[in-house]
Each structure stands twice: as C-alpha cells, then as structure tokens.
Amino acid sequence: MSVDLVLRAKGGDHEAFASLVRPQIDRLHGLAGLLLRDPSRAEDALQNALLDAWRDLPKLRQPERFDAWLRRLVVNASHDEGRRLKRRRGETPLTPHHEPRTSGGISADLADRDEIARAFRRLREEERQVVALRYYADLSNAEAAAALGIREVTYRSKLHRALRALQAALAAEARGVTRAKEACS
C-alpha cells in the first residue's frame, strides 16, 4: 500500500483510489462472503464499504492505516448487510439446512475442508469475524484487532474462544449433532 496513493486519493484522485483498492477486492469480497455466509450478498456489502471509503477518505488522518480502515469498513458493512438479511428473512438461519456433505470417493482432504467450512458457518458472527480476519485475511493479531476496533489483547481472547467454539462445532459435526446456537448468530 502506497501512502502517496492514499494521499492522492484523499485529494480526490479516483484513479489513485482504484489503484489502492483493486488489488484487494477479491480478498475483501471473500471476507465479506465468509462473514455473511451468503456470497450473493457479499458484493452489496463490499459496495457499501467502498462507497464509505471513497466518500470519507478525506477524513482519514493516518494514510498509512488505509488498509486497516478499509477492512474495518468491510467488516462493518458485512455486519449491516447480515442484519438486513436477517430482518428480511425473519430469524431463519443463513446456513443452508441441507449442506452438502462429502462422502465416499472424495479425498480425505476435501472432506476435512468441507467439514471445517461447515463448522465455521455455524459460528456466531463475532466468532466468524475474528477467525476470518486471522485465517482468511491472514492478518496479524494487531491488524485484525484494528479491523474490529478492539484492543489486541481482547482480540486474542476472542480468537481463543472462537477456536474453542470451532473445535466444539467440529466435534459436534463428527457426532452428527448440529449446534443448537446456529440460529443465534
């Protein structure tokens, strides 16, 4: 990330803004999709985040924090989009009722991946946020904490609890038991 590009974008240069954002769009879209558990809404969330970023960029006082700020906007926009979806759909869980399960003939690696992805989707929203920022966005604890607007020590604590919840979800998955809280996220 180039501070010079951020400064130019702050000054109204949309090409500079595009240069800053374009390389990150796939990753940010993936992050929004994971947080929302609904890829079809990820684009809306990302659109809102980018609009906020562009409009409010002149107010960003630490250009070197642009990336962290943008991730934060995506997390917030995903939260808002998820809340809107929940209202539209009532309290129906976003997780599909009949998720595909891998079965015989599929490699163990694929089966494991599928199992973990299902367990991840059953986490609460806050748990998905802390996990996705660390293991999908590949952020450090400090960067992930900044993206959530919390202290690093708080983030580490939340991440620890989220991983324990994921382990529990995996154990439940192994027992064929769905997590009772899946609709509460």
Binding site: G12, H14, I25, H29, G33, N76, H79, Y135, L163, Q167
Partner: protein, 280 residues
Amino acid sequence: MSGDRDLRDLERRLSHALHQAAPRPDPRLAQRLLSHTAAVPQRRGWSPFMTSAGALAVAAVVVLAILTGLALGQLPRNVGSGPDATQSASTVASEAPATISPTPSETPPSPSPSAATLPDGQRCTNATLGYALSYPADWYANPEIEQEFGDPIAACTYFSSQPMDIAPNAGLPPVVAISFERWTEVPPTGEGWEVVSREETSVAGLPAVVIELEQTSDAGAPFSAAGDRSYGYEVELPDGSVLTASTGTTANGDYAEHRDVLDQMMATVELTGDGRAENP
C-alpha cells in the same frame, strides 16, 4: 502439549478451508464497484475564498445544498437498521436513551422561525461543536462514540425518535433523523439538489438561513434519488465557521415531524463558544 498441537493443526486446516470456501468474485467486480464510487463525490472542503463572511451570505444556498445533500448522502447506508437492531459486535454502541447532561430544559429566547419550545425536553451539550440545545423528552441523542480512526463523534451530534446504533468509522444508519456538523469552510455541493425554499433567520442571535432542497435527478445515487428532500439550518458563527443542522426524507420516520422537531430544537440552541469546526 497435545492441546497446542491440536490447535496448530486446526489453524492450518482452518486457513486452508477458508481460502477454499471463500466466494470467488466475478472478474468484472472491481470495475463495477469502482464505477459506482467514481460517481459519488467525496466529503471535502470547498474553495477557501468561499468562507469569508461576505461570500458566505452569497453562497448560503450552495452551502446548505452541500451540507444537506451530504447529510442525506450518509443516511441511506445501512437501510433497514432500525430500533430492533441487535447490538453491533463491532461498534461502540449508542443505544442508550439520551442521558447526556440531563439538565432541566431551558429555552433561551431566540428569534427562531419557530415559536415552539421544548419545555419538557432534555438538554445536552456538544462540547466539540460548541453548542447546547434541548430535544424532545422521548427522543435520543448519541453519546460520545470512540473511533479507531479520527476523533470521537461528539455526544449530542445525532438525534432520533428511536434508539440509534452508530458504528464508528462507518456511515450513519437511517434511523438518525437529525444531524449537526460544523465546518471551517464551505463543503462541496451535492449534485442535482435544487432550492425549494430559503428563508433568512437567526439562531442564538446569529445570522442563519433555513433551506429546503429537493433532489431533481439521480445524480446523488446511491445516497439520494430524485424527489428526496432535505431541510436544514446553516448558522454563521462569529469565527467564520458554519454550524449546520439537517434532516431529510431518506431518514427513517416522518420527514414533516422531523422538520418540526428540528425547528423546535434550533429555537433552544445556545452557543457555548468552545467548539471548533471539524469539517473538512
């Protein structure tokens, strides 16, 4: 030790699984998204010469068009986030009823366009923007909201008849009915806004204008659309800065009621003299 190993193994598998599970965007997504941002103005200052007192009067219409257009521009985001919203996991919440400086309502005489006052209202002070005012007893004002980036949002900046859930470093939810800002210089104009009515008045003894605007095109999309209206005050402060207060049809609730409430609130404004302009 076994637990640590299990955890590390889980982390490795998790990273792998999430990278595979994340949705793959359409290759044209970036172009599509960026074409939308390119069509939206940034929030920034206008030419410095416009801030002189004389020019300010001439530019009043443009100024409020800008301010109210921008205020509206913030509002449509988070469509649907209302009073039933759950607590944001990523925010410093502001859902508490307004309890900021809950001193008895005082309604200082002010040649406001509205004779109405708020004898039963609550009173709050915005130390950052430099004013105190009354608002209805059953309305909410935001408390101070810490932000990761930039200064905190000062208490007593946003008002609504419903509890507000304002995320730091994010746009305003449409539940916000009335918002205040203070500007060092004239901000950019909103495209497509035209003046419906304009009246000179005074607020707390200072020259002010009350302007209602209407969006006549979709140039402000996605933040506003043709037919949207905004209504607001622009108060010229002694130091040359401008205090604005506005509401709009893109906010949740009854626009006419919000206008009336804003009129009543402006009649109770007292300048505390210690504020400062924040925009741009």
